[in-house]
Symmetry: C2
Subunit: 119 residues, 2 copies
């Protein structure tokens, strides 16, 4: 999994445990693509300070995942759903014309759920 996807998931799950300042620096750096120097300048702190805060935040998020493993659990569930969605797609030719609308509704709902799991 690309690092940024993992970081987004960790932040999504455990970000509420970080302090306001940690969240602020973390979001600017990872999600708004600010450089460490830009954050430092904007907040009147050193680049080293920003770097420390972001590293500490990432380590904290990884610690929470190490303890609880809930991101891993969610990802496993999402992967299972993706496999089922694929099988459901392959079922379509075997659904009689009168059942196509039902099939489409189920497919759409499951696809939506898989998408939510990934976000």
């Amino acid at each position: 999994m690309p690092d940024l996807v993992r970081i987004s998931l960790l932040y999504d799950f455990y970000g509420a445990f970080l302090t306001k300042k940690q969240r602020e620096f973390f979001e600017l750096h990872f999600f708004k693509d600010w450089s460490l120097s830009e954050i430092a300048e904007n907040f009147g702190v050193t680049r080293q300070n920003v770097s420390d805060v972001i590293h500490r935040s990432t380590a904290l998020l990884e610690d929470y995942e190490g303890k609880l493993g809930l991101v891993k659990r969610f990802l496993t569930m999402t992967k299972d759903m993706e496999r089922i969605l694929k099988s459901l797609k392959e079922l379509e030719p075997f659904v009689r014309e009168e059942g196509k609308n039902r099939w489409r509704k189920i497919y759409r709902e499951l696809a939506e759920l898989v998408k939510e799991g990934c976000e």
Copy 2:
């Protein structure tokens, strides 16, 4: 949701954050049905002490859920999957004979996933 189901889920998700002692008392009381007095006697502490540990543990688990809301998120996902499973059941009469095995495999896999989500 019955209290014990909620308590099991909270413990399942956030139990790793409790201390060894908190987990021990919590499990004996809620999952092995020991009374506070039985735990107290067995560990050579007061009944009040056991009661405090268990209340504190429950409050901690509720705090984590209040912050992260991951049990709620899991439950929502499971409920959505249950609804889809029901629709899938209703699709069966519209599946042609040659597709019945495929349908059964999908149904079984989704049912398994719903069950895991609830455990």
